[in-house]
């Protein structure tokens, strides 16, 4: 079930799952995000936040990837409801 389509990754709460719609932005950060598996269609979940609230850690493709909120804002997702 989908909820909304203009969410970005930084808006998710711990434990929430989402499907990636697209990665916006330019340059090397975007390239890196794509390389690390943040491709459209990929499903991920928020596994934790750092003690000071940023960065965020996600579980995707069976591993853990951490991003600052800054980078997380580049990734547009649809939130999945179980």
């Amino acid at each position: 079930m989908t909820e909304s389509t203009d969410n970005t990754l930084n808006m998710l709460e711990i434990g929430q799952r989402a499907r990636i719609i697209q990665v916006k932005g330019k340059g090397s950060s975007r390239k890196r995000l794509l390389d690390m598996g943040m491709v459209p269609g990929a499903v991920l979940s928020v596994s934790k936040k750092a003690p000071l609230g940023d960065p965020l850690d996600f579980k995707l493709k069976g591993y853990n990837l951490s991003l600052r909120k800054e980078e997380a804002k580049m990734v547009f997702v649809e939130v999945l409801r179980d």
Binding site: A42, L52, R68
Partner: protein
């Protein structure tokens, strides 16, 4: 039978056990250096096996072969330009999906590829079943199972390398990128085929793909080619960013298609690492755990090393003594004793710190904690313009700048590393303490403690402001990003850590040692000559130099004596005090020096405070300057660091003395 040398490149994602495989193959026969022009580490090892000589090159660990970082460019240029006989990718069997992304790029490079499925024991224990022959068939490469930590599968890997080297089967597996992109690829391949030199050098499909991804490094390979303008015109009409995403997507799509065919891999929702992280990165516990680990690391590096350093000091003092009593020619005895032996002593005195710190850093990295440390501290450090991993070098700076600057190599991003390297010397190192203790004790009595604390805080503030300044003005327009894997926790391998410690330590001795000895001897020459004067006195060349630069420091209220002692402080900051002792004729008696300084009208409390501020901030000692040169890979950054810190020292001492003159009348 003639031995033929086979060049083998090892690639793979970070944290897949690549170093363990490299160590298992090459044992002690390793050479460590740098790739030309960059500070990326280069490791080469030789292995004699079954009548063949294998030259194993350990490429930097990368997730991809785009031009994202210096590591990736180094790895890909080695494969594409140097054309090794065999490329081995080490894969983490526990995380095939992301690991295979790099594989899809390697498969486009027309090389002889072997995949080593490492940590296969763990994957089997988890219940994974992988059909090797199906896997080989689908990917068109040779596969070997390894458990490098137990040494298993290494011989099969070597056998595979040798048989693959004599075959002429190179992998040119194609991933379909969809009609539109495939059309563009064939057009580009056609354009490229016009330039025969280019075609003989680079696989044309690979080059076309990189060009369509908007890869500037790939585009620069066309710079001397006649087809460059044609390619440029063709690309300018295309939406390369769209293609880039599309191609990454297709690669992952390819992977998700083949994975179910080669077996079932179990991916747990909550792994053991996730459980450990519930504590280690916990909102309330994360920071206290981090701080106690850092405290332990600092204590081990500096307190634990002290007896070793004292032994080394004693040995070199003894050596100098032996030379002094056995050599008749005074100048020769002094050159050897005060110059060369003292210089070698200075080089060696850093060795215990460096060895211990690098052993601990390797353990942290290997265990997976270093990434967590970066994760925990990033918020704080990012607000200063650097990133989480910068915390460790800066903290170590309180002990000694030399190992601290070397520890910046744990930072992958070149700019983050440079900024951290440039600000680390402002963290007040242990060698500055004797200066503070004497001056603050002499001039501020019961306030000495607060004064010294204030100096530490000042150093931290200057470091933070400088980092922000560098990020804003020198590295502007290039924000660092933080896109980092938190690798699964592992039991660290002491063997790997010892090897890492040994490699780093010997690299320091080879590259930095001679610079330090050279600097110490140069200072000796200035202090000893002209013939017949007292060492380091006003009549020596260094004395004249001090008088020459006196006008530069007189606005701070410093006279030529202070100027001379500051020049000596370049050898090591605590030498400032010894030099003042010589100049005031009190020798090593600090009590006497203290009362003589109090009696000297030049030394007002304001000037004493200014001198402490200057000692804290000005050009770090020669050892630190030498490692900055080595770690930044350029004279430019070394000179920048030296002049920036001295300028900051001058300005802040000036302000301190002026304010001090008002307060302490």
């Amino acid at each position: 039978m003639a031995k033929d040398k086979i060049r083998v490149a090892l690639t793979g994602n970070p944290n897949v056990g690549k170093t363990t495989v490299f160590n298992a193959i090459t044992g002690a026969k390793q050479k460590v250096g740098n790739w030309p022009g960059v500070t990326v580490e280069k490791k080469i090892g030789i292995k004699e096996y079954a009548g063949h000589s294998l030259e194993i090159v350990d490429l930097p660990g990368t997730y991809s072969l785009t031009a994202y970082s210096a590591d990736e460019i180094v790895a890909r240029d080695y494969i594409i330009e140097e054309k090794p006989g065999i490329v081995v990718q080490i894969l983490d069997s526990m995380n095939l999906e992301r690991n295979l992304y790099l594989s899809t790029q390697l498969m486009e490079m027309d090389t002889k590829l072997i995949f080593a499925l490492n940590m296969s024991d763990l994957a089997e224990k988890r219940g994974d079943k992988i059909d090797l022959s199906m896997f080989e068939k689908l990917l068109g490469v040779t596969l070997v199972r390894t458990t490098a930590s137990e040494g298993e599968g290494i011989n099969s890997l070597l056998d595979a390398i040798i048989s693959k080297a004599s075959s002429d089967m190179s992998s040119s597996h194609k991933i379909g990128y969809g009609e539109e992109i495939e059309d563009r690829i064939s057009i580009l391949e056609k354009i490229i085929s016009e330039d025969k030199a280019l075609v003989s050098k680079y696989p044309s499909r690979w080059l076309s793909i990189k060009l369509l991804e908007g890869d500037e490094n790939a585009f620069s390979k066309l710079s001397s080619s006649s087809i460059q303008p044609v390619v440029e015109r063709f690309l300018s009409g295309l939406d390369l960013e769209e293609y880039e995403a599309e191609m990454a997507d297709k690669r992952y799509e390819f992977i998700s298609k083949i994975l179910p065919q080669v077996g079932n891999t179990c991916v747990e929702d909550v792994s053991a690492s996730d459980m450990i992280d519930k504590v280690i990165t916990n909102r309330y516990l994360g920071i206290p755990i981090f701080l106690s680990l850092m405290w332990g690391m600092f204590e081990l590096t500096f307190t634990f090393a002290t007896p070793f350093m004292e032994l080394i000091d004693m040995f070199f003092a003894f050596l100098a003594e032996v030379i002094a009593t056995n050599l008749e020619t005074a100048w020769l005895a002094s050159l050897l004793g005060d110059g060369i032996v003292a210089g070698a002593g200075a080089v060696m005195s850093f060795v215990p710190n460096i060895f211990i710190l690098f052993f601990l850093l390797a353990l942290l990295e290997d265990s997976g904690y270093l990434a967590r440390a970066a994760f925990i501290m990033d918020r704080l450090m990012h607000s200063m313009g650097i990133q989480g991993k910068s915390f460790i070098p800066m903290l170590m700076g309180f002990g000694c700048t030399v190992p601290a600057v070397m520890a910046t190599r744990t930072l992958e991003d070149e700019k983050d590393r440079l900024i951290t390297m440039l600000v680390t010397p402002f963290m007040s190192c242990g060698a500055r303490i004797p200066v503070y203790v004497l001056l603050a004790g002499t001039f501020f009595g019961r306030q000495a403690g607060s004064i010294i604390f204030g100096l530490y805080v000042l150093g931290i503030i200057v470091a933070i402001l400088s980092a922000r300044l560098f990020r804003t003005f020198i590295f502007k327009g290039t924000p660092s990003s933080f896109i980092m894997e938190l690798p699964p926790y592992h039991r660290p391998s002491p063997g790997n850590s010892i090897k890492y410690m040994w490699n780093q330590g010997s690299l320091y001795l080879k590259r930095v040692g001679s610079v330090i000895v050279g600097g110490v001897v140069a200072i000796w020459l200035l202090a000893y000559f002209p013939q017949g004067v007292e060492y380091g006195s006003a009549e020596s060349y260094i004395g004249s130099l001090g008088k020459l630069i006196e006008p530069l420091v007189s606005p701070l209220g410093f006279d030529w004596k202070i100027a001379i002692s500051l020049i000596f402080g370049f050898v090591a900051k605590e030498v400032v005090i010894g030099s003042l002792g010589t100049l005031y004729g009190t020798g090593a008696d600090e009590g006497m020096l203290s009362s003589v300084l109090l009696a000297d009208p030049v030394f007002t409390p304001a000037v004493a405070l200014g001198l402490m501020v200057f000692t804290l901030l000005y050009v770090p000692c020669i050892g630190a300057v030498a490692v900055i040169k080595k770690e930044s890979g350029s004279w430019k950054w070394m000179l920048f660091s030296a002049s920036y810190s001295t300028a900051v020292a001058w300005i802040l001492s000036f302000v301190t003395v002026k304010i001090g003159n008002i307060i302490f009348v």
